[in-house]
């Protein structure tokens, strides 16, 4: 709730003081991206498949021509179905078709630094997101679900580019690569390590 209030204040402030900035675009922007994610480390032992089911969306407030702060959320699902096999554990030997899923919903505070001026044709940037992520681990043994739901700390450094659709355009193409880390431990998973590619739009809002 505090974050929401902060953002409402920021939005109101942006309307009032926008003219005071020398920025090419309005300070408040919205971005929506489609995301693809590749698991690494122990997460790969759980599900080895690249996730094509993901998105992220965020709001950013540009403090000046290069620095922006924001909030970002999203969704990514890892999903892998394994053929029938026998697994041995404390419950005995279990023959099952396993369907392994992990759904990740982060809520991150972000900071972004643009490496060129806003009127450049291509605007590279570096960024960092820090916050929490909801992790829903759901392993199906046949039709029977083994489910764990938890919240974890998440850090997410990022590099990317914004390409305006014309000089001074409020609409920019966004492409980026980010690394997501969470000290997440559940069954086979000892850490959450993911490289995520994003492509989408960034729109400066009046």
């Amino acid at each position: 709730m505090k974050s929401l209030k902060l953002w409402i204040l920021l939005m109101i402030a942006s309307l009032g003081v926008q003219s005071a900035f020398s920025q090419v675009r309005s300070p408040l922007s919205l971005n929506v991206d489609y995301s693809i994610a590749q698991p690494f480390g122990s997460l790969k032992d759980y599900t080895n498949k690249t996730s094509f089911r993901g998105w992220r969306a965020g709001l950013q407030y540009h403090l000046n021509d290069q620095l922006a702060i924001g909030l970002r959320t999203g969704f990514q699902e890892f999903y892998e179905k394994l053929p029938r096999a026998v697994y041995s554990d404390k419950s005995g030997d279990i023959s099952a078709v396993q369907t392994r899923t992990l759904q990740v919903t982060p809520i991150l505070a972000t900071v972004q630094y643009q490496l060129s001026k806003p009127d450049a044709a291509v605007i590279p940037y570096v960024g960092l997101g820090v916050g929490t992520a909801n992790m829903v681990y759901n392993k199906y043994w046949g039709q029977f679900s083994e489910r764990y739901n938890s919240w974890q700390f998440m850090a997410s450094p990022e590099v990317g580019i914004n390409v305006p659709f014309g000089k001074g355009s409020p609409v920019l193409l966004n492409a980026s690569l980010q690394y997501n880390f969470a000290p997440y431990s559940q069954q086979e998973i000892t850490n959450f390590n993911v490289i995520q590619a994003n492509v989408g739009l960034k729109v400066h809002i009046n």
Binding site: D33, R53, G54, S91, D93, P170, V203
Partner: protein, 210 residues
Amino acid sequence: MKRVMLVTCALMGIVLSFSSCGKDPLKDMTAEESRIYITNHADSTDFTSFKTFSIADSVVVASNTNNDGRALTDYDKKLIADVTSALEARGYTLVSRTSKPDLAVNLTRIDNSYSAIIYDPGYWAGYGGYYDPFYWGYPGYGYYWPTYYQVYQNERAVSIDIVDLKHPVNNNLVAVWNALMRGTGVWSIDNVDKMVSAVFAQSTYLKTTN
């Protein structure tokens, strides 16, 4: 700017509808894939020390209604025949119940279609009227291993118990092997061959030499 907002909203809508919800594994699952076969055995048991077995002449139907009892449907006959064949293929000899077999085999169909109960074979096996308490000459039997699984509401399952008749403990028998088959279609006669074959295939230790 209005157009930009519209495009943004449309894009957001497309992205959200495309992947906001997770994929449901149950919608992408056949009946065969839905089934799981759990086997458990006593680590200390040397299965080669047993030579003969006898199998119950009917199948217990354990349910959460008042219709518990024994049954001998075509399904049950096939289950008895398949388990018998599987044990014979592992070197054990079928003998009658009165011929002092080394092992006893009990078969149970569990019907939990009406309300939730926890299936705990260590609790009910041999008690509560499911079995004739002295069918095998003893008041009941327990298990060497703890049971972790439970049967869910609206579920049917099938259980096979192999009980050691040679070494009663404190005048009680102990099961040395259990198989539990769960999932869609476990009460279908068409699946008996595959299920029995699977639980024996994953229990390679269950064999003897003549």
